[in-house]
């Protein structure tokens, strides 16, 4: 029965009860009581529905608040992780830059002694073959004395650039001392290294820096040796150094190997 039909029926019953013609009829009292009970139950039902609706509304609102709070906290957590990851990435970059700075010679950007030592140790541990070359600029002190350290430094930078360009990716080129460079030719025999060093010495002879109107160029002396299996880096280095000394004594501007190729 629809709300409308229900209301119409109630109105009919009310009208019948109100009619004085039906007063005192045996059904009058029973019908009046039935109507009152119906009204009361209807009222109860409406209250129940309204309370239930209000509960549902509250539950819905609470759920939305929780949902919102959850989303906010999630967003915050994501922001926190994002920023924190950013700082960690920054630290990693900083560490990398520090590592670069601590392993490169600041003037020439070649490997410094720390990196060279590290690399030599790695080769020793892996017992890998290599050929070492120690290169020394001839009469470098004279250049510094006559033209000043700025010119000497510029020359070092220019030579370093030439060495770096000529070497293969897996070779190592480092600044061993003031005007001394070290080349490490990985998995390379003495003959092959000798060829590379000779080409390098020719390229370096073409390198020059200008001091005012004059153009200065230099020559290199080199000492080479191939690592013996089981030989320590210090021993290999010492042999290369001895070869270099002999090259110097023999008149400079030349390569010498130990043993001779």
């Amino acid at each position: 029965m629809t709300e409308h039909e229900d209301a119409a029926l109630l109105r009919r019953v009310e009208a019948l009860l109100a009619d004085p013609d039906h007063a005192g009829h045996p059904l009058h009292e029973a019908l009046a009581e039935l109507l009152a009970r119906h009204r009361s139950q209807r009222h109860q039902l409406e209250r129940l529905v309204s309370i239930s609706d209000r509960y549902q509304q509250l539950a819905m609102e609470a759920r939305q608040v929780t949902q919102k709070r959850y989303e906010r906290s999630l967003r915050r957590q994501q922001k926190l992780s994002r920023i924190s990851d950013g700082y960690q990435a920054m630290m990693r970059e900083r560490n990398k830059a520090l590592h670069r700075a601590s392993t490169l010679d600041p003037l020439t950007q070649l490997a410094n002694r720390r990196l060279i030592d590290e690399r030599l140790r790695q080769f020793e541990v892996a017992d890998r073959p290599y050929t070492l070359a120690l290169l020394d600029i001839d009469h470098f002190k004279r250049i510094n004395d006559r033209h000043g350290h700025d010119v000497g430094d510029a020359l070092l930078v220019a030579i370093a650039e030439t060495l770096r360009e000529a070497l293969r990716d897996y070779d190592l080129c480092g600044r061993w001392g003031g005007e001394e460079f070290l080349l490490l030719f990985a998995e390379t025999g003495l003959d092959e290294a000798w060829g590379i060093v000779e080409r390098l010495r020719e390229s370096v002879a073409d390198v020059g820096v200008s001091d005012g109107n004059r153009r200065l160029s230099v020559t290199l002396s080199a000492g080479l040796c191939e690592r013996f299996p089981g030989e320590s880096p210090a021993e290999t280095l010492q042999r290369a150094d001895q070869a270099l000394l002999r090259a110097k004594r023999d008149g400079r501007n030349r390569s010498l190997a130990q043993p001779s190729p």
């Binding site: 922001k79 994002r82 920023i83 950013g86 700082y87 920054m90 970059e93």
Partner: protein
């Protein structure tokens, strides 16, 4: 109570290798922090900063300015800064005048990018300037 009497004393925390230097100036409505922040107990350190900001905003009606020159922040320090910025946002939404200037070394653009991430949810003036903050 006098308008300029702090509820809690001003902070004057010297920095260390792992903690930022922190100065609060109730009279000037100013809070400044400089340096790296990865303290052993960051809650202990930042709780007092958060308390100061909360008290200032609750007591005063005057503006509050934060001058930051923070470099590295660990996760809990990032969280603390987010909490502080949230306090400022709440105050701003209530009509208070609050602002932040984040100074960074122009050689480290990363800091600016991260400061920008912090700024994301802030509707008050939040400047990120390549400069060195006055100590």
């Amino acid at each position: 109570m006098d308008d300029t009497t702090p509820m809690i004393p001003d902070l004057d925390i010297p920095g260390s290798q792992s903690t930022p230097a922190i100065q609060s100036r109730w009279q000037q409505g100013r809070l400044a922090m400089q340096g790296d922040s990865y303290p052993e107990n960051s809650y202990e350190l930042f709780d007092q900063v958060i308390a100061w900001v909360r008290d200032y905003l609750a007591t005063e009606r005057r503006p509050l300015h934060l001058a930051l020159s923070l470099v590295y922040l660990n996760t809990s320090s990032v969280k603390a800064m987010m909490d502080i910025f949230d306090l400022l946002e709440e105050a701003h939404l209530e009509g208070r005048e609050v602002s932040v200037t984040w100074h960074y070394d122009p050689r480290n653009e990363r800091i600016a990018e991260l400061a920008d991430e912090f700024r994301e949810d802030c509707s008050y003036p939040f400047a990120i300037t390549p400069s060195v903050a006055p100590a």
